[in-house]
Amino acid sequence: MGLHIVKRENCPLWKRCCFYLIAVLVALGIGSVILLAIGVNPVAYYTRMFTLGTIGNKIAYKTYINYLKDFVPLALTSLGLSLAFKMRFWNIGGEGQFIMGALAASAAAILLGNTLPSAAVLLLICVAAMAAAGLYGLLVAALKVKFGTNETLLTLMLNYVAVYLLNFLMGTKAGWNFYLNANELRPVPQKHPDSSLFPTIPMGGKFELNICVILVFVIGLLIYVYLKRTKQGYEINVVGDSIGTARYAGMKTNRIVLRTVFFSACLIGLAAAFKMGTVGTLSTSITADVGWTGIIVAWLAQLNTWVIFAVSALISMLHYGSTVAAATFKQVDSSFANMLQGFILFLVLAADFMIRFRIVRTRKEDRNG
């Protein structure tokens, strides 16, 4: 008798969903044990978490608006990362690219916000952010193509360059530093003019839908079509599967890598533009870690465009919901949310293993036979 791992052929969708569901439930179960141990009623906690604290909440519309503000940059960043990942280009530089995009968007908003009409400013913010982030990503792709450098290390290290640049700009009060409010005694970020904020659509009641939410779904559709229906999308897949095959087939692989990484980083820059265009003030925590969380989302979604939206929605809910829930339970601090997220991720990955493989009992003679 022994255990044997066998590749599973064609796991049906319902079974896959079941595995994932069980993984999430087990994670919540572990969370409940911890909650019980610190004297918190898990049911009460999870109820608050999954309803985002909207039950009996007079300003529930605010919760939905805030939740969507978390969701949009995460989904878009994750989409951007998935493009590069599809090609097996390990872009770990989402944070850095997001920061570069945010800096460019903020510069455009502060310097031009009061001189141009709103539509032009918004367009410029997006273009500037995409260009800045795109070039920051392209730099790594170019080095990889030209000198064969390791993109994981380079994108990772460039994150820190961006983080410290942002910290420097946010902490250094000086005449040239337009990112800070010149009228303040201490370093306080400059608020963007109203013309640089994305418009919102009233949806009845006090809820207003930010146009970025619609745009992000449109972009999702475009990316889906790009990947599934265009030659360039096909090329990305081939390069990802086997760069040798791509070369043999006469594809200009260097060009494909450069182009795709640029696109990938551009989308992350656009996520930064959307964030800057809704928040309207830069800060050292502007990324809210989407560059990191985006990687997790992309992998959990197995790089599937639509699943990325679903996973982003869930992760944002987990994150936002835990903060809301933690506010009412004095024993639980916001670190609990991170821990729970960790449990869910690990168990979903375990479920993923169970979907791809199955464990069978084997007898000795069977194995020989």
Binding site: L25, T47, T51, T323, A326, A327, D333
Partner: protein
């Protein structure tokens, strides 16, 4: 397997049942909301000091911190993050919201306009309105001056005129500059030959360098007393390891370095929180009366209110320290004298331990350098800040625009 399934099913049912139930918010009691920069379960440091202050104040007012306190913690200085936290607290029925970190300033100002029925109170900030938004901070420089006296007397006792100071920031923040200056003036009032060396961490929390810089001050600059403006007790521990002495900050650091610690400049945040919560309750639901009830929109308490103080003196202190500090403290509590004026105190302790404090008119002078546009060593044309005999600099300077260090202090 069956057991696991059953357990899972039970869990699902529990969750779905709970989702149907819900808990309607009952709002009959006063609720306090707080936004913290670090975790509410911290056991030391800045957030801990505030959390401790809020809970102590609430308990002293007979409030239930389990039910009447809601907190969003680990909130970075990011506008959206702060506004999200405000929304969460308001939706939980908070009547007054305290934000403890400086970078919350613009978000809280905006929130105070949106939620006019909620009171907003911002620690370390300088923005406010005339109705529901105030700021609060304390005259910690007064406590630092007293700690400086302890350090100065120790330097006389040991015969070592070099005093070190590990600072999160220096002249780029009035908060740190006024702290360094208050301490230095206290040292100089006792030991006019003292030299104060300041190391700039350029970071509000950096335990590794807090230790390393203290060691550098001890080993390379020969400092015999180490003071600090940073969260951790690392500089005090370094002082103990280097067999020198030290003055802590924020809370009594004697337990961290029993052989080195003299006294610490400390905050009693509960003093403000109790005052603010009482004022907020007195508004009886009309948040716009808060500033009026507080008697102004910028609370700036000092030794007089008990908001700042020095921790109990240890046995490491030189003879006469207690008497000297008590005498000077009385001057400040009674409002007879303050630190940043054109009047200097000369404090001496004779061989029998008898303390004498005399006032002399003398100009308050800077060391000739100021912070400007990212340059820490921009020249200062007029080094006289206050003429001899002149009145104190404005509170606005101490809180906001002090960008120089006094004579005898050197940033190294």
């Amino acid at each position: 397997m069956k057991k696991t399934l059953a357990l899972l099913l039970a869990l699902v049912m529990m969750l779905s049942l709970a989702a149907c139930g819900g808990d309607p918010e009952t709002k009959d009691e006063f609720k306090v909301g707080a936004i913290y920069i670090n975790s509410k379960s911290d056991t030391a440091g800045y957030t801990f000091a505030h959390h401790n202050g809020i809970t102590t104040a609430m308990k002293s007012l007979g409030m239930d911190t389990d039910k009447q306190l809601v907190i969003v913690d680990n909130v970075p200085e990011d506008k959206q993050a702060v506004l999200d936290a405000v929304d969460t607290l308001v939706s939980n029925g908070a009547d007054i919201i305290f934000g403890i970190s400086f970078g919350y300033i613009d978000a809280l100002e905006e929130a105070s306009k949106e939620y006019t029925d909620v009171i907003f109170s911002h620690g370390t900030g300088y923005k406010a309105n005339e109705t529901n938004f105030n700021n609060y901070f304390g005259r910690i420089y007064q406590a630092r001056y007293l700690a400086g006296i302890a350090a100065g007397l120790k330097s006389l006792e040991t015969g070592n005129n070099n005093v070190g100071y590990v600072a999160a920031h220096t002249t780029d923040y009035a908060e740190t500059a006024s702290g360094i200056n208050g301490f230095a003036l206290g040292v100089q009032a006792v030991n006019p030959n003292a030299k104060i060396y300041v190391k700039n961490l350029n970071n509000w929390a950096d335990e590794i360098n807090e230790k390393a810089y203290a060691e550098e001050l001890i080993n390379s600059f020969g400092c015999g007393v180490i003071s600090q403006h940073c969260d951790s007790a690392q500089p005090q521990i370094a002082a103990q390891n280097g067999k020198v002495f030290g003055c802590g900050y924020n809370s009594d650091m004697t337990a961290d370095a029993p052989k080195a610690h003299l006294t610490a400049a400390i905050w009693n945040w509960n003093v403000y929180y109790a005052t603010a919560i009482k004022a907020a309750q007195a508004c009886e639901g009309d948040a716009s009366k808060f500033v009026e009830k507080m008697g102004g929109n910028a609370y700036y308490g000092g030794l007089k209110e008990g908001f700042v103080d020095v921790s109990p003196l240890t046995e490491n202190c030189a003879k006469g320290t207690k008497e000297a500090i008590e005498a000077v403290k009385k001057l400040m509590v009674d409002g007879e004298w303050d630190v940043f004026t054109g009047v200097k105190l000369n404090i001496s302790v004779d061989a029998e331990g008898k303390v004498s404090v005399t006032k002399t008119n003398a100009a308050l002078e800077s060391n000739g350098l100021q912070y400007k546009d990212g340059n820490f060593k921009a020249p200062m044309e007029n080094t006289v800040v206050v003429e001899a005999g002149g009145a104190s600099v404005d509170d606005g300077v101490i809180k906001g625009s002090m960008n120089y260090l006094v004579k005898g202090v050197e940033e190294v």
